[in-house]
Subunit: 100 residues, 2 copies
């Protein structure tokens, strides 16, 4: 199981980056276990990113069963959504690319 201080360290490091506007950590069921955003938005991001992760993973496996998804970066008009999937959890970071 992942040590919580490892996650804390990672969160601190990420939040120190200029341009980071939000961060959510979700468990393997897609439930937010840590967030810098208010609850309703965290739950929304958690639900949407969980579906996106499922779709992306199945796409990669479909194309090559020996391959694996390691990172997602969605660029939008307003910001960037970064998703880092790990075994027990996934980290979601929202940042303004122009400031980062």
């Amino acid at each position: 199981m992942l040590q919580s201080n490892e996650v804390e360290e990672a969160i601190k490091r990420i939040l120190s980056h200029k341009g980071v506007v939000g961060l959510v950590v979700i468990n393997h069921e897609g439930i937010p276990i840590k967030s810098t955003m208010e609850n309703a938005l965290s739950v929304q991001y958690a639900a949407q990113v969980t579906q996106l992760l499922d779709k992306s993973r199945s796409m990669i496996k479909e194309l090559d069963s020996n391959n694996d998804l390691t990172f997602i970066r969605l660029r939008t008009k307003k910001h960037e959504v970064l998703v880092c999937p790990e075994k027990d959890y996934a980290m979601i970071v929202i940042q303004n690319p122009t400031e980062s």
Copy 2:
């Protein structure tokens, strides 16, 4: 409607990048209209990326109806899949990040 020479120029420029291993252009129905890869793989990428685009777009709209998806980057163990959605088509590029 997009001028085909614009697409040709973009394709030539992308293919000149070191590390690019494949490129597929799909129309708004998800049908491959140009590809550097053999047909079966092009059709597979087209189908999978079309679903990924639909999911990503709906996710972004769900979170903020005034926002729009502009680019997707999926990093995998073996390579990177880049998806650039435009109005009438989408460009899919597969590249080896270590060589690019």
